[in-house]
């Protein structure tokens, strides 16, 4: 297995999402993943079962010890302003965030800064987190549900270094959760902020590339173009063929991209008690969904929205309610389904062992 892993780890970047492609149509997702310069690879994909994944997670990071599930506050590295960004930038982002909360689902432009990570690594999400985070916070970072991918680990270390904050892998312990492409399975609560990394904030960009036109459509709440697209999907495929980044209406007014989360996660956004913030670094847009705000996945009366999930139980914890990844277990083509949310899966495995 280790042979396979290093072979795949060294493969050209950009070849992501392999394990999920069997779940349904991926046109939306793959195209957007590819839009990120340099792409990103998901170390987890070839890791196999969780136990292995954790063991290898340490090795993949230059032999550093894998951080414990929770780490207390650390000391800010000398030479950094708290949270990395300068105060002028934070103020500008903070003003944008407040307007975004006041106008749920509306995209607010902001002067995105250069960050020490390439676009596609979540520079928008990082700038939002950096403008919000304080010494009292406990940060969790997930990449497609996993706390232990290179991307998630890098971002968590970044904030431990520039903000000295405590980190955790446990959803329930976190006050800020920065995420790429998933919403945790555990219900979020008041007192938590979910920060999404967004590659493309404009839900209409595929249908109308002109920004001046999409701005006009949002101003008029004229979303006929999207309805026509969905209707054509139904005519062609018999259902709406979007399994990721499934467009939503926020507060009954704004059409919004939920970022490339699986459609399975969309219902979690509806009236969520936590605050949801979205940052798109390359496109320089911020938007938000306040707590307890309606988020409705677009559908038709005769074709209601249906969140898609592989019809299987997690091979590690037995969950039938979680979103599953299909992972390769050996080089003989062996495959199995495991929870995409590693904390959810580990917690369930822990409590099963305790019960035995």
């Amino acid at each position: 297995m280790s042979t396979m892993r290093s072979a795949e780890g060294g493969a050209p970047l950009g070849g992501e999402h392999r394990s999920r492609e069997s779940h349904g149509p991926t046109a939306t997702r793959s195209a957007e993943g590819g839009a990120a310069p340099g792409g990103e690879h998901r170390s987890r994909e070839s890791h196999g079962p969780t136990a292995m994944r954790s063991a290898e997670g340490g090795a993949a990071l230059g032999g550093e010890q894998r951080s414990r599930a929770s780490d207390g506050p650390t000391t800010i590295e000398a030479g950094y302003n708290f949270g990395y960004l300068d105060e002028n930038t934070k103020r500008m982002i903070r003003r944008a965030l407040l307007k975004a909360v006041a106008i749920p689902g509306h995209q607010v432009p902001f002067g995105s800064r250069e960050m020490p990570l390439p676009y596609g690594w979540g520079t928008g999400g990082i700038q939002v987190t950096a403008s919000v985070i304080g010494p009292q916070d406990r940060l969790k970072v997930i990449d497609q549900g996993a706390d232990d991918t290179t991307n998630a680990v890098s971002i968590r270390r970044f904030f431990a270094k520039v903000a000295g904050v405590a980190t955790t892998e446990h959803t329930a312990e976190a006050t800020i959760i920065q995420t790429r492409h998933r919403i945790p399975e555990v219900k979020l609560r008041e007192g938590q902020i979910l920060v999404y990394q967004v590659p493309m904030p404009e839900p209409l960009f595929r249908l109308e590339p002109r920004v001046s036109e999409t701005k006009r459509m949002h101003a008029l709440a004229d979303y006929g173009l999207m309805h026509v697209k969905l209707y054509e999907d139904i005519a062609r495929h018999g259902h709406i063929a979007i399994s990721y980044n499934y467009p939503v209406m926020v507060g009954g007014r704004y059409l919004m991209s939920p970022s490339p989360i699986p459609a399975f996660d969309n219902p979690k956004m509806h009236r969520m008690p936590a605050l949801q913030l979205f940052g798109a670094g390359r496109e320089k847009r911020i938007y938000a969904v306040p707590p307890y705000t309606s988020v409705h996945s677009l559908d038709f009366e005769d074709h209601p929205f249906q969140p898609i999930r592989a019809n299987a139980a997690c091979a590690l914890c037995g969950a039938r309610d979680s979103y599953l990844d299909e992972v390769v277990t050996d080089d003989q083509g062996g495959r199995m389904f495991v929870c995409s949310d590693t904390d959810y899966c580990n917690t369930r495995q822990g409590s099963r062992e305790a019960a035995e």
Binding site: G83, N88, M92, R94, L98, K99, A102, I133, P290, Y292
Partner: protein, 191 residues
Amino acid sequence: MTELTPGFADPVLGAQSCFRAILEAMSRPGRLQRVAGIEQPPAPLGLAAAAALLTLADADTPVWTDAGAAAEAWLRFHAGCPLVAEPREASFLLATGRIPSLATLAQGSEEEPHRSATLIVEVKTLAETVGWKLTGPGIETEHRLQVAGLPADFPRQWAANRAGFPRGVDVVLTAGPWLAALPRTTRIEEA
């Protein structure tokens, strides 16, 4: 000329903590948040009003205020914000006396509704288990908020402001170290 009192004791962490209070307030309309970090705000500004402006205003945001010369000098020095005489030109307004009429403030456009004013009002008192019934985004069922010190026609002005959504003004109410926010989406029913 009297000496200026200091701003945030810790400018970076003071602003961060105050921002979180305002973000929480804007996300959960009508819930009271307590702000700290400034020893001696310039009269007649309360702690929360002064801290909110230091947190959000700078050279890019024109500010209007009726708080007088001492407060203006303090804001100019600590926030570096330009002060304007016309309420409609301001990004932030800080009213300690009669509030400017909401309809005269920057509302943003249909395409850019975020280019709208935020009005901070120093009121006499805020209380959260009695008074107005607030509903809308950020509120699970209803929040209650009692405000002493706003003009009697404020609910009527607010209803007109809300009807203009997505355009409109957002309001932050402050009383000493306390603040509560009314984003333009909030519906106010008088109890």
